[in-house]
Symmetry: C2
Subunit: 306 residues, 2 copies
């Protein structure tokens, strides 16, 4: 694959940044990748495992001379990080991010960036329940979507180049406006995560059912919730606080629907339940046909030998 | 492995029955396995794929002379099936079931069974989102739990024999009383399933976010819900109708907790959210340490190469 950028700077070295680094190396997509993380420990780990060609002790040093700067920090600190790096950005550089919320990030980051720097917010829809510099792997973005949310008037050439980087990392790229992004993600990600966190918390609270029983007997459905609810707490706190309106709207719809199903259970309305459960099955088929999940039972864990 | 029963009859030939058949064959746990399903199509499929040594056209024929009869039908029809087979049961035979609810099944089935027949309700905590006679595989119960819920005064020898069958099929066996079972399962399985069904239904309803977007961008969390919500509609309708009280109690707790988190989002209480999300992470570690799930990211789908 051809080199897309001369120098890429990764600010924040968690799951997404480390995966992007390995994907860039796999594809030969950049001449040099610099990296910075606020924590001494993370920088030491990065140096130990060869994460980034050069790990810098300040964000300013990492972004100096970079053609592309990727902000890979929790959504809540994007603005502060942008303020910190702004004076050190090279003219003509592109700044992007990987945050799960877009309208709020645009409001936080945009005002800090100097004229002549291209700001193209982004969001790769990929992740696992693991976090930190050791959790990354080159295949994370393969066949996943990366959404770009360029603000009006953004340089077309700069967008094409960022798109090429993500495509080189294995992703399909699509453009979308920020408000629509935030609503789509509230449905496909933010509300499901809050619901999973809630259910796991409820199970933990129940004193009559001991923790050890909840854990032993988790294979009956609950364990899938626990995987989602094991994601990074700081990242998710920031997501909910910055995509408040869309998340609360979807949760309102969810509660309304849950109450209707609870009433059907209470009144013994089996037809209502059966019809509802039949409808939801079809969505699963759509996801498998779209190549966004495996049809192997239980995601392939402990399934039949092929 | 040693033969445990001379003849086993499977009534109903879906995921659990077909997996049990293949596990019995793998372990040499029975001399002959007969099978019956109400639908002509299912019986024809079973004959085609060699599911059961003998597929019978009536339940009466299947249970005649069987040492063990396993009811593998939806919870809602357990009573009707018990009434149908009762006159044909061999003296000294054991009847068990695999239903996800126990108190209601005991109330439905118990009264029909003649004296001299041992009734030992059971529940293997294993499954996938697939259903039907083709979905079974011998490894389904390996390292999973099977809960036995014997009523008071049940023959100890009969319990030991049924335990040996499930252990031969790969499961760990534990005994529990019916009410406790139904509460534990409401937490670990029934409430999570209803919640997943609800969230998938909500996503399907949203017209501003098109179906195709929900499907395309599902990898961000939602797709795990769709797997759970793809389970058999009839089975789950019956579970909710027959474990009504425990399920509604847990859903009540869930709603209470969800409202508290929604309020934290609305008021911007990040500390509350962060503390909650940190606590739920610990439960995930417990499940992995207990060997009930894999630590591979995303359940191993698309993760790093080992």
């Amino acid at each position: 694959m051809a080199q897309v950028y001369g120098r890429v700077a990764l600010i924040g070295l968690g799951l997404i940044a480390s995966s992007l680094f390995w994907a860039i190396k796999r594809g030969g997509l950049a001449g040099e990748v610099t990296g910075y993380a606020r924590s001494d420990e993370t920088r030491a780990t990065a140096r130990e495992i060869g994460l980034c060609d050069r790990v810098c002790d300040t964000a300013a040093e990492a972004v100096a001379g970079a053609d592309l700067v990727v902000l890979c920090v929790p959504v809540g600190v994007m603005g502060a990080v942008a303020a910190e790096i702004a004076p050190h950005l090279a003219p003509g550089a592109t700044v992007t991010d990987v945050g799960s919320v877009k309208a709020d990030v645009i409001a936080q980051v945009g005002p800090h960036l100097p004229k002549g720097v291209h700001f193209i917010p982004g969001h790769p829809l990929a992740g696992t329940e693991h976090s930190g510099p050791r959790s990354g792997f080159a295949e994370l973005f393969d066949n996943r979507w990366c959404l770009l949310v360029p603000v009006e008037g953004t340089d077309v050439e700069a967008i094409a180049r960022l798109r090429a980087l993500w495509e080189g990392a294995g992703a399909h790229v699509e453009e979308m406006d920020a408000e629509h992004h935030d609503l789509v993600l509230a449905v496909t990600s933010h509300a499901p995560h809050l619901i999973a966190y809630t259910m796991v918390g409820v199970a933990d609270d129940l004193r009559r059912v001991t923790d050890s029983e909840v854990i032993k007997y988790s294979a009956a459905g609950f364990r899938d919730f626990t995987r989602i609810a094991a994601s990074d707490p700081t990242m998710w706190r920031d997501v909910f606080l910055t995509n408040k309106d869309a998340t609360l709207e979807i949760l309102g719809r969810f509660t309304e629907e849950l109450f209707a199903l609870q009433r059907a259970i209470r009144t013994g309305d089996g037809d209502h339940l059966h019809a509802y459960f039949t409808r939801t099955r079809a969505i699963r088929r759509g996801i498998i046909e779209a190549g966004q999940d495996t049809d192997a039972p239980n995601f392939g864990r402990g399934g039949p030998k092929p």
